[in-house]
Symmetry: C3
Subunit: 344 residues, 3 copies
């Protein structure tokens, strides 16, 4: 829960809090009450200029003052210069819209099995359910109506928003954020045809979510057939993403909304998957790979690949083919004409 | 909740209720007990003919009678002529399958914070949770197991089906319908790289859902970074749709299932997005734009655009390119042949 | 709930339980404690070789023994030969990781309407809600926080994982598995423009899920406008799938994650839809059709079709066009050159 605090700070006070250098032509007394974008900012707002390209827009903005990098000045407008604008933005939000932890304690309507182990400083919201042998680490928040299955393990300082479902034996690390509607540990999609009929192969593996992962609303991470499905440290996953059974997602990956991973996909460190991309089963993707929006990856990708299209090809090839395709109707006409021309 | 009422009406009675003109050759006494499609209708069903193209199908249908527009007659079959067939269909459903409002009152298992404000005639279902300072307008239904977060505001005559999650400070208008699994106000997907690591930028904005919006099952609308994510009046959103942070969706848009909007997309009035289409961040789309299924919009679109493909191009160009692509393998053979031909 | 049992079996005991033929060169006393893949297996694991191609990988694996088909031997490694490896795998899982049924009975926190009919041996988990006139068959498990709407009917031996939502009048068969977040029976997406504004057409039909269907996490199956939306016997649906109103999905279909069906799609028996495919409304697809990942089907498909691309074309044509597209940039250069050549 973050809410505006009603705080008012003058620029000197704010500069001190942000460890910023105040640059202003005149001694006008701007009072800042919150943060806003260049488009929305009014005189009582601090705004921020993340790129020198936004300089003119900033100068024309109504903001009372601006967070900028040390190398930027906006003539005649008060600036707070910092080393990193985005760190400044985050600090400013923490000042004006502080994060209020949920009240510690277990709501009386929550159903907690007596054999669950609940750490110190834990919040468990109304109508949540925590099953037998589940373990919840210190200072973790379990939102209203969440479900924590039997023998599931959740680390410290982790936040589950309302309506998260964590199935049996799933392991979630510390400082993880799980948004509403997330389902961790549903069965992988695995059938084998026996005697002509599809037979369900029981999924007895687990899901492991490492520390500092964030998972968006209504995203699903399936449990492994055997072994584990693993999401690496610091990986950030948007809403409505599917990660199939036995995937091994590396550290610090980013997946935009609607991405789908089939089973047993392996990714390196720092990969980016843009919206609605899909990855075929068993594929291995190297470090730092970027997969464009709506692309379909059908084979392994080396480290540093940047691909696009279905089936995905290197972005440069995709762009060249796409440009050529636009010229194709005309090309057909030209070839028709050449064929008609008598080669006397 | 809608259920068949067990009502039986003869055609004169039904004509009177629908304000329709009964046209029939003979005085046969058809009794109507419900509505059915041309394929499924039996003698006790009213069916409907939405288009003159369905005339033959209607004449061969077993339906007892037909709703038709004033300009259509079906020889020898009883017809109820109305000004607008679909209005007639909706009225007929309201007659035979009336909408029963949930019983007013708060179920004893619901957990309502004493500082929440609940209007007159509100229904709150079993195991629902309404947090501190939330406000729920008159005659609104909050389904079983719904979550209404702190300081969220919901208008009048709005319906939340079971299992909807509304996070803190989200604003929902009047006569809105939210289907099960909807999540309003999860954090936008926003990280900035600081010192080489992705840092979460706190999302302190809100979501505003204007009046008469409908949102399908398991759809997610993220809260804004700063400011608001807004869904305009009368917009209809299907299941499993993603609307990213700071989008400003216009009035009377329609989004089919699986559509994904990245952050900060702006749309005009009356836009249509067919299934699984995706829109890149920051894009602006003009009034009345139509985006084809699975298309990927990567740049701004003028009013009235009709686009298709990834990256999306005008539908006409996409069709021409696609037709040309089918001829490409043959074109390559023809060019090969021309090259081999000696140009003596 | 499946957990490892802590069982230890020697190969003769295991062979007897699996009705397998033990083939081993020497009398070494391998003790098996569980099942693992070739990659992960250690000396106390049974592994399995589903294909002769994996022979070398198997021989180099650390597994203590191997499930193989009767026609395969791995020199010097103990093998349990069976008629069907996958049946053996499933049986082995059932031995080492037995399925523990949830404890029979209704949790005191569940809210069950007195007019609901609950069969023998039913489990209803904490905070579940079962509405008036709902009927739940014998030995069915309703997970924590599930919602079963008014007059919904659920068969025998069916499992609802936590947080499933079943709306009013939906019919679910026997031996069905519904994963967390599934929504059955939300309204179909149907509006008609009357007097220039989109008007909601009430959806008064139902959903019918036949026996032995499995539906993945956060998947949505919409109720019909009139009549029914039907999922045929034995069909398996993965996570985050959308099935629109009035679809009639045949028996033993398989749909991978992210697939979307518009309204009124009809499919035959044994169709396969790979990840993120989309099917346009009103389309009919014949028996045994295969639709490739991310493909968009825009028209009817005959039995046995195998299609790919958007709009989908026969896989062979798609592959040929795709190969030709890769050569297109070069083709344009060649045609440019031919045009420049003087045809003296």
């Amino acid at each position: 829960m973050r809410r505006k605090k009603g705080l008012k700070l003058n620029l000197n006070e704010l500069a001190a809090r942000l460890n910023a250098t105040l640059v202003q032509d005149e001694g006008n007394e701007v009072i800042i009450e919150g943060l806003a974008t260049l488009d929305d900012a009014l005189g009582h707002n601090l705004s921020f200029v993340g790129s020198a390209k936004l300089r003119d827009k900033a100068i024309n903005s109504k903001a009372g003052a601006f967070l900028v990098n040390y190398d930027l000045q906006l003539e005649g407008r008060p600036c707070l210069q910092v080393e990193n604008v985005w760190r400044g933005v985050i600090q400013t939000i923490d000042i004006f819209y502080p994060d209020e932890k949920a009240i510690t304690g277990i709501h009386p309507s929550a159903v907690i099995d007596p054999l669950a182990k609940i750490g110190r400083g834990v919040h468990i919201g109304p109508n949540a359910v925590v099953e037998k042998e589940a373990r919840i680490g210190n200072d973790t928040e379990i939102g209203a109506q969440c479900y924590v299955g039997r023998a599931a393990v959740i680390g410290e300082n982790t936040v589950l928003y309302p309506n998260v479902t964590i199935q049996e034996r799933v392991i979630v690390g510390s400082r993880v954020i799980l948004h509403s509607g997330v389902v961790l540990g549903a069965d992988g999609f695995k059938y084998e045809v026996i005697d002509g009929l599809p037979c369900k192969v029981p999924q007895v593996g687990i899901v492991v979510i490492e520390d500092e992962v964030e998972i968006g609303a209504n995203t699903c991470i399936d449990r492994a057939f055997l072994g584990e499905t693993r999401i690496g440290h610091g990986t950030k996953i948007d809403n409505l993403v599917q990660v199939g059974h036995n995937c091994r997602i590396g550290n610090f990956n980013a997946m935009a909304a609607g991405v789908g991973f089939s089973g047993s996909v392996t990714t390196g460190t720092g990969c980016i998957f843009w919206g609605q991309a899909g990855i075929r089963e068993q594929v291995t993707v190297g470090d730092g790979t970027i997969v464009g929006g709506q692309s379909g990856v059908t084979g392994d990708l080396p480290a540093g690949a940047h691909v696009f299209g279905t089936p995905a090809v290197p972005l440069r090839d995709a762009a060249r083919q796409n440009a050529a395709l636009k010229r194709l109707p005309d090309l057909i006409r030209r070839v028709n004409k050449m064929e008609r021309k008598p080669t006397k």
